[in-house]
Subunit: 519 residues, 2 copies
């Protein structure tokens, strides 16, 4: 059937083409059926059937569907009934509690990638594929199929290391430090980071304040060959189907473990990672409540790594207050660079960065990784490597932390009484920083002048809010007033322990034993 295309913009998690009921009757198309729309190219979409909103003879299509079938508003397009994609059968099997093999999982991923499954169907898949209805083999099939939807890079070297944080702790600016330390030892660590999703600052957001983060796979390869490491943005080149799955999950705000693990690991598979360290932040106000929960997810990640032929270790890190003292892109970049240039800084940042880098060095065969990592950091070698990487990403080779300027609109928040800081509430800190404009206003954020266990007098500055304009500063102040970002009381309270990594999983002793046995 020839119909005139009618462009419309619809914001809904389930955009569909809309057709007139008479046309649908003639075409034999029922509600939720699919049509294939052919312009210069062809695309498949589910159909909503309406009466007068769309005139007979026309088909209302969201812009992205128009693009996919290479048509423009007003063009005549050919519309035909399209049968259900084959992967629906596999999706149904999963919902009925059955197991999916490599081919079935591959067909689901291919159909998500091609836009043949609606967001509703993707959500049904994710819901069915929950922890109690997914085994590691299936997750591995999903992971590999997801990796195959984008570029697969071969750096031509082995081993390839990577570092990944499950997130949830504000101020976690250690990634450029870890990469710089590890790459100083001549190891390959092509680290792709992401921008903030719900946080106030992702690693890509902070790096973006001082050098380029977008790199195509050729420049990525060249940079890795030269410097061993990069701090790039994990863009849509790698396992791009993950973004479509996340989009379908978003309306419910869910992130079930099997698809979450596959999304993470698919990007690592696409980069040929052989050795991966995963940071699992835990504690009040973060995503993972305690060490036991961290161990549980660590075990799943390690086992998935085994099925995928990837050596995966995990480190459970304390995350019940922000890491370091700053939150927000420019502020975090400053703290990170200042630590590298001064070879010192907030103990939580130095400890976590050297601890994580140390584990990676041990994965590469170093005996005492932490000592080695600290030596590289204190000697300034990490700083030199950092500047090499920055230069390779078109940043200044003489970059200084003082070059970066936070927002000019500033407000200090004071203690209302004498006492001790009982806690710094992660969700509140994130909400205030976002209220101030982070991460899109890169100068916006928070600097903590006090942390848990610090003794304060009435009137002391607890934290400082930065914004790029008065309106957003006011919004952040309002947000701070309606929340409890920092609690001061007369009770004594312990400071954060000096060791940020509560547990390595598997432990070093366990790993030594495994190596001893297998040698």
């Amino acid at each position: 059937m020839k119909l005139a295309a009618l462009e419309y913009n619809v914001l809904s998690s389930e955009p569909v083409v809309m057709m007139n009921a008479d046309d649908c009757l003639e075409l034999g198309v029922g509600p939720d059926d699919r049509v294939r729309i052919a312009g210069g190219s062809s695309a498949v979409s589910t159909v909503a059937i309406t009466d007068f909103l769309v005139r007979k003879g026309t088909i209302a299509m969201p812009s992205y569907v128009l693009d996919r079938c290479s048509a423009e508003d007003g063009d005549m397009v050919d519309v035909a009934y399209s049968p259900m994609p084959g992967s629906i059968r596999s999706l149904k099997r999963k919902i009925e509690g059955g197991k999916l093999d490599r081919e079935a999982m591959g067909s689901i991923v291919a159909d998500i990638m091609a836009g043949n499954l609606s967001d509703k169907e993707i959500l049904a898949f994710v819901s069915a594929f929950n922890v109690n209805n997914a085994d590691l083999e299936e997750v591995a099939y999903l992971t590999r199929a997801m990796a195959d939807t984008g570029t697969v890079v071969d750096f031509g070297v082995r081993p390839v290391f990577d570092f990944h944080s499950l997130g949830g702790v504000p101020g976690n600016k250690i990634t450029p430090m870890v990469v710089s330390i590890v790459a100083s030892e001549g190891l390959t660590i092509p680290k792709l980071s992401s921008r903030a999703v719900s946080s106030a600052c992702g690693t890509a957001d902070l790096v973006d304040t001082f050098c380029d983060v977008e790199m195509d796979s050729e420049s990525l390869k060249a940079a890795v060959r030269r410097n061993g490491g990069v701090f790039a943005c994990g863009n849509e080149d790698y396992a791009p189907v993950g973004t479509k799955i996340i989009k379908a999950e978003r309306p419910l705000g869910i992130d079930p473990r099997p698809t979450m693990m596959a999304s993470i690991m698919s990007k690592k598979v696409a980069l040929g990672t052989t050795h991966l360290l995963v940071d699992i932040p835990f504690g009040a106000g973060s995503k993972i409540p305690d060490v036991a929960a961290a161990r549980n997810i660590a075990k799943d990640l390690r086992d998935l790594g085994t099925v995928l032929g990837m050596h995966v270790e995990c480190a459970a890190s304390r995350a019940d207050q922000p890491l370091g003292t700053s939150i927000g892109p420019v502020l975090e970049a400053k703290e990170c660079i200042r630590a590298l240039e001064s070879r010192d800084g907030d103990p939580s940042v130095i400890d976590k960065a050297c601890g994580m880098a140390g584990i990676i060095l041990e994965m590469a065969g170093e005996k005492d990784g932490r000592r080695k990592a600290e030596e590289i950091f204190r000697s300034g070698r990490a700083h030199s490597k950092f500047l090499e990487i920055v230069a390779a990403q078109n940043g200044s080779p003489d970059l200084k932390s003082d070059d970066l300027k936070p927002g000019a609109f500033v407000k200090d928040v004071h203690a209302k009484r004498d006492g001790t800081v009982q806690m710094v509430d992660n969700p509140s800190i994130v909400a205030i920083a976002k209220g101030a404009g982070a991460p899109s206003d890169v100068g916006a954020g928070i600097v903590l002048l006090r942390k848990r266990g610090d003794v304060v007098k009435e009137g002391d500055v607890l934290f400082r809010i930065y914004a790029e304009n008065q309106g957003k500063l006011d919004r952040a102040i309002e947000s701070a007033r309606s929340r409890r970002p920092m609690l001061v009381s007369g009770n004594p309270v312990e400071r954060q322990p000096a060791d940020m990594i509560a547990e390595r999983i598997p432990s070093k002793e366990m790993l030594d034993l495994i190596r001893f046995r297998s040698s």
Copy 2:
């Protein structure tokens, strides 16, 4: 915000209200957010945001949403942001693999019933609540919550028996016979049947050809008090939320076991059933492949019954060819009534009806239920009871099978060779009967003149198609040509065994043992 209501009809599994992007911006409403729309009353709906399809100042609403907020096309309605319903939290917990308690399950069911969850969210729930992520306690909570969404009847007597078939076998016209036999013994069996969903004839469709099937709960109670049994339609009065769940499942054609069991059992709970027999048809061309699969589902149903305080037994019945000789409302009604009036008929029908009724009689304490059931059937008592029930449902007290007339457009299908009937294919028979117009054309259907194991000569009539007009008859003939409804070859093949019930679960011996032990 005041907006003009604009009625539109949309056929989609996910009808939403549509608002202009400018109005949404002003209201702070994003894609997939909910709005509360207040006219005479108020309703909640998810929102699709569009540009020019809906003008600023108006809100396009499907008719049923207009109805729910007591507004008409053109009325001004008040539109406000509505937060996510509380049950979304429970839904997310289920997707993350957690367990739901009575309250959480109740809130999900209440929100489905109130229209606060979209079809997409209901589908996500059903997908997450699969066999590997649901336990019996949760299914019981779901069942009870579903029962509470409609009328709950108390017949004032105990025990209350019921009989339910999982369906999937064409020609299964035994329900009025089972009810008549059981009610002849003075037992209470308020049988509610359904119309065809995907089959050619549901029990309610065949009963509807000779008496009323729709009864409100008061007339249901009166009829049950007088006659012990009814053959009514299980309408929207009882556990109506089930229909909303089925609607959300339909686009994917799924029916996962936990929600399927809860849907069935919720109607029984609403009727105060204390003793339930479930017929589980199995075999090639039916829903359940073999006895092992039937045992598996029987165990789940029995265990759920235990949690619900209901005595549940099951019977696995042979279903690899149609039951009896007729398919379609009038034709099945004729076969059923003729068996009752002649006290004889196709052995498969008589055996299954007396076998099922016999099990129910034994559940009521009878020693040899089948013998008793056959005695009631052969003596004509079942026929008398049947006519009493028909009369109570405004049918003729002198109803004869010959009163019912099938469609006048008839086509015989002949054997093309000598041989033996190897199989009668259930899905093909259903497709041809539906092609002929069944179940909406009540006179349409099929009469089988041969069944498996019958020896035929070339030219013998294998089956006869009935339709109410030539067009549909032609369509059915065409459907028969493109399929293999009956396969004739030279190989010898066994007839269907005389005993239609392959296995009683638990077996009578097992039950006797249980009774012996507990006495």
